[in-house]
């Protein structure tokens, strides 16, 4: 080699820098994590909301429904009647407007019924058998999750049809019977035997079930209405709220006359009042001893009742019935709010010598309800006036589980379904099967972890809900709230931050100055790999992840 050529060669760079190891500079490395969203965590059935909303956004609707159905067999039902705590915790609420998760859920549920989608077939058969006593939301949810695991499930229902409160408590204008029937039919297609008109009431019957099955799940609800002692013997004009709703929902509603008073402040009070209005009562008034603020009923229900002309009288407590010239009157004592009581709400206190009275053709008592203790063994205990279960929904009797209104004073449909799911998981574990455990003790993604640059301010596509006009509502039991279109659903889904859920948006890949994120093409496994030979640990990928699905973890030797 000549001297000149030799000199020239030192001026040329001939090797590639990707042979070098800049990963040694690093003290922390990005890690893709599983971190639940606040909505996921708030959901009583632990629904993985960001995952199926991502499916809607991408137009993969069937896949989205399947993801939704993993935790919730009844999206068409909960999409209508769930109290949706998910929305109260939605991170987007801190930005512009929360996501209308319930409307999206209903959209997917209704779509699945319209297109006749079925649950994936159960392809395992396990030998254990479970009896479910009470076919309401808790029992049906338990049946679903047990059946998916391959167990044999039989449901014992005292009434003619399955559904419990969903069928005999919630009026059709909130939950059409057709929707309920179709959701339940689809569930039964999984191969669940049902014994309707079979009430399990005696120790002998429970004894038989305990011998015949490996475990029991009791979900007989809370069906004993509370009463006011001062009205014990005036049953003539007094109806019981739950009983009235049962009759309305079975097509045997009794006439109530023109002036109807409803006593109470929960959903049953609102449901009876709105039903009575639809069945021809001229003047319906709800009397509640606290104020609107303290009503346990859902706010949207109160609003809709008001729109339909239901009257409200707050801070009044019924005392006695008077008859004057053939006119019946309910005399109420005026109340005022005092210190908070054990329920955390201000205690209503009577104002001395202050009374109101209202004319009434009939009165409906909707004061809440208590449980009837199942007659099984001697070991069951009561706590806070409900059946006592442990954190796994198991009673003090071995292999006897319980859930729903029977075991809880938090009386929502989805809470009952959550209890059924939890019991099913615990039973599966008891039987030695594998179950996915809930993630209720994990921290959730906070709003501060969301990179809002990627989410231009954009108020909800589906603000509140769409409703029939009042004049079309009060003459019949047509559904009041209307669904949303595919376009609206996708628009709303696009607003979702998908907190903590990697939607494979590629931001981490594009924002790496060191080309240290690799995209994986495989169906399974992680979407990205951090190339630790190059990653300098700057954390730009974490910062640019729109949804908090990556964290920086310090590395220690």
């Amino acid at each position: 080699m000549s001297k000149a050529a030799n000199m020239l060669s030192t001026a040329w760079t001939t090797l590639r820098s990707d042979a070098l190891n800049t990963g040694t500079w690093r003290s922390a490395i990005p890690t893709y994590r599983y971190c639940p969203s606040p909505c996921h965590q708030a959901c009583p059935v632990n629904n993985d909301i960001p995952a199926w909303i991502d499916g809607i956004e991408k137009g993969e609707l069937h896949g989205a429904w399947l993801k939704l159905a993993v935790n919730n067999p009844f999206p068409s039902i909960t999409g209508r009647v769930c109290h949706h705590p998910c929305e109260s915790y939605c991170n987007r609420g801190q930005y512009d407007e929360k996501i209308s998760i319930r409307m999206l859920e209903r959209y997917l549920g209704d779509l699945s019924l319209e297109r006749g989608w079925s649950f994936p077939a159960v392809d395992v058969a396990k030998k254990e058998r479970v009896a479910i006593i009470g076919g309401g939301p808790a029992g049906l949810s338990a049946a679903y999750h047990l059946r998916l695991e391959g167990y044999t499930v039989e449901i014992y229902e005292a009434r003619q049809k399955l559904g419990g409160l969903l069928r005999y408590g919630i009026p059709a204008y909130r939950l059409p019977k057709e929707v309920l029937d179709r959701e339940i039919d689809r569930l039964l297609e999984l191969g669940i035997e049902v014994h309707t008109d079979v009430a399990i009431n005696t120790p002998g019957e429970y004894d038989r079930l305990q011998k015949e099955y490996d475990a029991l799940f009791i979900s007989t609800g809370a069906q004993r209405s509370r009463k006011l002692a001062q009205f014990e013997d005036s049953s003539g004009i007094i109806q019981d709220g739950l009983d009235y709703l049962y009759k309305v929902n079975s097509g045997q509603a009794p006439g109530l006359g023109q002036k109807v008073l409803v006593i109470g402040g929960g959903n049953t009070a609102i449901d009876t009042a709105r039903s009575a209005k639809r069945l021809g009562a001229d003047q319906v008034m709800i009397i509640y001893r606290r104020t609107e603020e303290e009503m346990p009923s859902q706010k949207s229900e109160i609003l809709e009742a008001g729109e339909e002309g239901i009257l409200f009288t707050f801070l009044a407590s019924p005392v006695r019935i008077e008859k004057e010239n053939g006119v019946q009157k309910l005399v109420c004592q005026k109340m005022q709010l005092g210190e908070n009581d054990s329920s955390g709400r201000p205690r209503p206190e009577p104002i001395k010598d202050a009374y109101l009275s209202f004319e009434a053709d009939s009165m409906i008592m909707a004061l809440g309800s208590d449980i009837v203790m199942p007659k099984i063994g001697n070991g069951l205990e009561i706590q806070d006036s409900v059946l006592k279960v442990d954190g796994k929904q198991e009673t003090s009797i071995k292999n006897v589980f319980a859930g729903g209104d029977l075991t809880s004073n938090i009386r929502f449909v989805s809470t009952a379904m959550g209890a059924g799911k939890k019991a099913a998981q615990q039973m599966a574990q008891l039987f030695g099967g594998n179950t996915v455990q809930g993630s209720s003790d994990l921290e959730t993604v906070s709003f501060e972890e969301i990179n809002t640059f990627y989410f231009p301010r954009n108020p909800a596509v589906v603000s509140g809900s769409f409703q029939l006009v009042v004049s079309d509502r009060i003459k019949n039991f047509e559904e009041v709230q209307l669904g949303i279109s595919e376009e609206q659903a996708i628009g709303e889904a696009t607003r979702c931050f998908n907190c903590g859920f990697c939607t494979v948006c590629d931001n981490c890949y594009y924002f790496c100055p060191d080309m240290a994120i690799a995209r994986n093409s495989g169906e399974d496994g992680p979407n990205y790999t951090v190339l630790d030979q190059y990653c300098k640990g700057c954390g730009l990928c974490v910062r640019e992840c729109p949804r908090g699905a990556i964290v920086l973890k310090e590395e220690s030797k």
């Binding site: 001939t14 090797l15 500079w25 924002f511 790496c512």
Partner: protein, 290 residues
Amino acid sequence: MKHYEIAEERVFLPGHAACPGCAMALALRYILNTVGLNAVGVIPPSCMGPMMGANPYSSMRIPIIHNSFESSASTAAGIKRAFKARGKDDVHVLALAGDGGTYDIGLQALSSVAEHNEDIMYFCMDNEGYMNTGTQKSSSTPRHAYTTSTPGGKESRKKNLVEIMAAHRVPYIATTNIGYLDDLVYKIKKAKKMQGTRIVVLLTPCIDGWGFPGNDVATMSRLAVQTGVFPLYEVEDGEKYTINHGSQGMPIENYLKRQRRYRHLSKDQIEEIQKEVDQGWQRLQKLANL
């Protein structure tokens, strides 16, 4: 949500020696990977020298010539003429300089190249100072910013390079940054298709020189745009102004308070900067006939 879909040729390689989280390295990734392999680069003294790597390693899969500080534009023009003379007119020649090598030391060469409308692409990585040699001030350093050579804050304003070059009536000038990757790639693609002197000025916030957390370059880039400090726009033939992303009326304080170089500012100084930014933004809107 907006999704990026960017096609890249793999020209810029990992293993380079830029600081962790460097905006300039990310900008370089998209410049080189968009222009592609049929290119030659010219790099004067700047952070891009070490970024390329120590001999015999290179992070750039194209030939690079390290020229003197003042001659980036003319070196690039000479290389392009040589390719033309040899019938290889399709080779892209890029100058990759910092703000020191552009606003200060290389301005004369750039002016001359622009006057002749030489067929090169000139990229100025503007981090508002000599960040490679210890944070000295350049004529791109903004008013009141601390540098080691302006310890009490710089007294003069930042030079407006875009207006200077627009006065040369070059076919294309654009400003962009890595906070808006789609904008950045769009402008490089557009410049690549054109001929003549094309100049792209990229604001590349410097973690160390400005003093902010190492994962914040994209956020800082966006704040510069949203507050109106550094609007993203194009000037074609020195006449036609198009604003792509501009001020959203966000107070300048949101940008300043996140940077160590501004932490000595008094309320009056912040107001003074706000006024200057507002005037600049109004002037730009006027130029764009808005």
